[in-house]
């Protein structure tokens, strides 16, 4: 079931005009910001499908930049997001893509600065609900309903057990888990949706595991 809560249907509270093209876009932008973890120097946004055809009319451009500025769906500053981003020195570029995607409301976001970049693909599935379907080239499914840990690690034995042990020690239950890799033995990505909030100290503890390169927590 894609929709789990009644508040996916009656909600969110948001700035108009479109739940999929405005609120959903803001949420995709905000996940990108949370994954990046800091204010980016630049944001490159590509729109596909219905997003590409109608993003100006729906304020999708404004909303997605609002999300990148870490604004929630109901934050009235979204209306002025493009100006705010400019004032904060974030270089924003937008492109309409013709390529066909699996979902009609798809956006690709690249955020970066001198320290690094992230690239994600988000889809807005209706009523403001989103899924992240790709991160740094890894395919994934991230609903955004639960606190989640994204762990970049080496594709070697013991990685999953190591992370799971830390979580078990702190009595954190795993609700959903997914592991993917681009190539055998190379970099891999672990996505863990959990039922409890994850303290920063636990994130640090996971990051200290020798097999782990980077840990990001979102949605808490």
């Amino acid at each position: 079931m894609k929709y789990k809560s009644v508040f996916d249907i009656i909600g969110p509270i948001m700035i108009g005009p479109s739940s999929s093209h405005t609120a959903g876009a803001a949420r995709i932008g905000r996940v990108a910001r949370q994954l990046f973890g800091r204010k980016p120097a630049f944001a490159k946004i590509s729109f596909y499908g219905s997003f590409a055809k109608t993003y100006k009319g729906h304020g999708t451009d404004v909303a997605i930049v609002g999300g990148i500025l870490d604004f929630d769906t109901f934050d009235t500053r979204i209306v002025d997001a493009l100006t705010i981003a400019e004032n904060e020195g974030i270089a924003v570029t937008m492109k309409e893509e013709d390529a066909l995607t699996d979902h009609p409301n798809t956006a690709r976001i690249v955020l970066g600065d001198e320290r690094g970049t992230i690239e994600l693909v988000g889809i807005s599935i209706g009523g403001g609900k989103i899924e992240i379907v790709e991160l740094n080239g890894f395919g994934l499914i991230l609903s955004g309903d639960y606190p989640a840990l994204l762990i970049v690690h080496n594709d070697r034995y013991g990685a999953i057990a190591g992370v799971a042990n830390v979580l078990a020690k702190h009595e954190i239950n795993i609700g959903h888990m997914q592991v993917s890799r681009k190539e055998k033995g190379q970099e891999a990505l672990m996505i863990i949706e959990v039922d409890q909030l994850v303290e920063t100290s636990i994130v640090d503890e996971i990051e200290e595991l020798p097999i782990v390169q980077q840990v990001v927590k979102i949605n808490d």
């Binding site: 009644v6 249907i9 700035i15 108009g16 739940s19 055809k53 009319g57 599935i125």
Partner: protein
């Protein structure tokens, strides 16, 4: 846990409770939160809806494009003149649906029900019923849970996205949700709620999403208006004992299949339907400052 309308109605019947109770219980189970917390969150949504309706019927809101705004006030004035043909109650609901969508189009604050483009139908009928049935605040909150329960089934078994299923998935779903909740508030049975949803949604099947210039304005605002009136009539029909020959779940499934086969041009791409009419194209060119031959 209910997966379809039949299971939702059966749960309400076997537990001898209302549709809204089933939804609240499921939300408690899913989130682990208390009843009070869940009610409080819905109360906040209700307050946002109330503020949007209030703003739309008192303030001359205008969207950036200038395509919409001011019709809710116009209709309220006409309604109060006593000349209306359909009657004050229906027009009150319709004008409050319009009010919500006008505020939405002006990038104001609204609560998606189930989406922003269809956010007018449920609050429109709810705040008209407030003056007619005089529900308590708790009952108004229950109304939102009841409509949410039906929307939950549609969202999981079909779609609530115009880009995926056309306007039938948005205003159509909202209309069915509202019709079902009206029945509950008026004292009907859970089965009658399902009948109202089926009757309402059947009459929205095939409705395309063809917004002029891609804006959630034309025809969205007026489609919410008609959705509100459709919901009221469908609820009255169900309360009179009229039944849909096609069961509610099958109507939802039909809506899904129609959405699947609907051309992309008619699914929120502003490439067909009203968006592609000469006037629609002219408005688009004017709003975005693009000459028509460059399109």
């Amino acid at each position: 846990m209910f997966r379809n309308v039949a299971e939702l109605v059966e749960l309400a019947q076997t537990q001898n409770c209302k549709i809204s109770d089933v939804m609240i219980a499921q939300e408690m189970e899913f989130t682990g939160r208390s009843r009070e917390e869940i009610i409080a969150q819905m109360d906040r949504n209700l307050r946002v809806m109330e503020e949007a309706v209030e703003r739309g019927v008192t303030e001359e809101v205008k969207s950036h494009s200038g395509l919409t705004g001011g019709d809710a006030i116009r209709l309220q004035a006409y309604m109060k003149s006593g000349k209306s043909l359909t009657g004050e109650f229906v027009l009150d609901a319709v004008s409050k649906a319009i009010a919500t969508n006008e505020v939405n189009a002006a990038m104001g604050t609204i609560c998606a029900t189930p989406t922003a483009g269809s956010a007018g139908v449920v609050p429109g009928v709810l705040f008209a019923l407030k003056n007619k049935l005089h529900p308590t605040r708790e009952q108004m909150i229950e109304f939102l849970f009841a409509s949410g329960a039906f929307g939950f089934v549609v969202a999981n078994n079909a779609s609530i996205s115009g880009a995926a299923g056309g306007c039938q998935a948005e205003v159509g779903s909202a209309t069915g949700m509202a019709a079902a909740a009206i029945v509950e508030m008026a004292g009907g049975t859970p089965e009658q709620s399902a009948q109202a949803m089926a009757i309402a949604l059947k009459n929205m099947l095939g409705l395309v999403c063809d917004p002029v210039a891609g804006l959630v304005e034309v025809p969205c605002v007026k489609r919410n208006a008609m959705g509100a009136s459709n919901a009221l009539v469908a609820a009255d029909m169900a309360l009179a004992g009229i039944e849909s020959r096609i069961p509610c779940d099958e109507v939802i499934d039909a809506m899904y299949r129609i959405g699947q086969t609907m051309p992309t041009a008619l699914k929120e791409t502003a490439q067909g339907g009203l968006a592609a009419t000469p006037t629609g194209r002219a408005l688009e060119a004017k709003i975005f400052g693009i000459p028509l031959d460059k399109k």
